[in-house]
């Protein structure tokens, strides 16, 4: 038995496929599958929403409060006035099954949220930013619009379902990426919801005050102070840009022939 030095051919244990090609096909294929499944899940959420009508939701969440909410004192005058304003405006949504409650969040960032069960949360920051009751009424009307379209449940449902789906099917490295990709896709949808809520809010303001003076002054102030971010940034945020919203509202007002001037109601606190 004799030793004859020989070498095997190079590359037998290595595939010829270029790693970027493999990465590319995997990513493309899986993205397509993910998108299909995400759309399916969204459809399922719609089905669930159909079977949980607003009345049932209102009954289930009647006294619910989120655990991390830090509120102002119940004796706060603004809380009382805000609740009265909400009650006055809610009248214009005749079929509403909700008994709307208002809470004021301690945060200094201007924000307003529609939460299950007819809970409207506005922040201190928002109350400090508004300069007339008309502005606040528009914000509340916008949130009422969300309730009417049941957007708050959609967003909640989607968030939960998508996180669970990605956590189950992939390892931690990939699930983060998967969530980011689908998040991006869903933000376009959110902006449509925001415009629909804006229009509902504007209609309510018009019915209550008879005019639209100062209704979206808040957006105009934001637009003036911060300018507009570029298109990419706009695309990736959940709310449309202020000037975009103003344009939509102006065109709606024009279409309906609503009056733009009238006596502005001051804040009552």
């Amino acid at each position: 038995m004799r030793h004859v030095p020989r070498q095997p051919r190079e590359g037998i244990n290595v595939s010829a496929t270029h790693p970027l090609v493999e990465a590319g096909t995997l990513v493309a294929g899986l993205t397509a599958i993910f998108i299909a499944i995400v759309l399916l899940l969204i459809f399922l959420i719609e089905v669930v929403l159909y079977f949980v009508p607003a009345e049932k939701e209102a009954a289930l969440f009647r006294d619910w409060l989120p655990v991390d909410l830090v509120t102002v004192s119940p004796a706060d005058e603004r809380l009382y006035q805000a609740q009265l304003l909400v009650d006055r405006l809610a009248v214009y949504w005749e079929e509403s099954p909700y008994e709307f409650r208002v809470e004021i969040d301690d945060s200094a960032v201007a924000n307003a949220m529609a939460l299950p069960g007819g809970l409207i949360v506005v922040t201190q920051g928002l109350l400090d930013a508004v300069e007339s009751e008309n502005e606040l009424a528009f914000v509340i009307g916008h949130e009422l619009g969300h309730f009417r379209n049941r957007d708050h449940l959609r967003a909640l449902g989607r968030g939960i379902v998508l996180s669970m789906f990605f956590a189950v099917t992939t390892g931690s490295d990939v699930s983060g990426l998967g969530i980011k990709v689908s998040d991006l896709a869903l933000r376009g949808f959110s902006r449509r919801q925001e415009h629909a809520a804006d229009e509902f809010g504007l209609a309510i303001v018009h019915r209550h005050y008879g005019h639209l003076d100062e209704a979206w002054r808040l957006f105009e102030r934001w637009h003036e102070s911060e300018g507009n971010a570029s298109d990419i940034v706009a695309y990736t945020s959940t709310h449309p840009q202020p000037d975009d919203r103003i344009r939509q509202l102006e065109s709606l007002a024009q279409r309906e022939g609503w009056s733009m001037v009238g006596e502005v109601t001051p804040l009552r606190w």
Partner: protein, 171 residues
């Protein structure tokens, strides 16, 4: 910082940075890999004349005058790009082609180190070579990261008797 800058920053952190990391890992990793393969081929050519076999009994005509165990090992880590690809693969199944070059060169490197170990001590041939792989546990505990993979090659090295000290002679 105004909100536009904050939003740009968030955008970068969420999408740009992971992508940058992936591409950097890919390009640098590929360069290092090619260089390593070249070095491996050079060294394999150098040691090709040395008999290395998996027979578990020594061929009679070797007439060993001394023997010892020799081993060579290497621990490699799986880079970020490869782990992401493997994660995607484990959904659809199939060969993870990006791991193959890494494991190939790790094993050849471990074998070369074993051979170099034998050569350094003056031995001429190795038999009963065994190759082992083991995964090093990750101290992070999120279950998915891998600290590394160890390749071990070990065998019995012998000094050959006089007739076969230069086995590259043809007969």
């Amino acid at each position: 910082m105004d909100s536009a800058t904050i939003q740009y920053f968030n955008l970068f952190m969420n999408y740009g940075w992971p992508l940058l990391l992936l591409l950097t890992a890919y390009f640098i990793g590929t360069y290092i890999e090619k260089r390593h393969f070249r070095r491996i081929r050079e060294r394999e050519d150098e040691y090709r004349s040395m008999p290395v076999v998996t027979f578990d009994t020594m061929p009679d005509d070797w007439r060993a005058s001394a023997s010892t165990m020799v081993s060579g090992s290497i621990v490699v880590s799986l880079d970020y790009f490869k782990r992401v690809i493997a994660g995607l693969r484990s959904i659809v199944g199939g060969r993870i082609k990006t791991y193959e070059p890494l494991l190939d060169r790790a094993r050849r490197e471990a074998t070369l180190r074993m051979i170099e170990d034998a050569r350094r001590q003056g031995y001429d041939a190795i038999f009963n070579v065994r190759l082992e792989t083991s995964r090093l546990a990750n101290s992070r505990g999120d279950g998915n990261g891998t600290a590394g993979v160890e390749m071990l090659a070990f065998g019995t090295a012998v000094k050959l008797g006089s007739r076969f000290s230069r086995p590259a002679d043809t007969t």
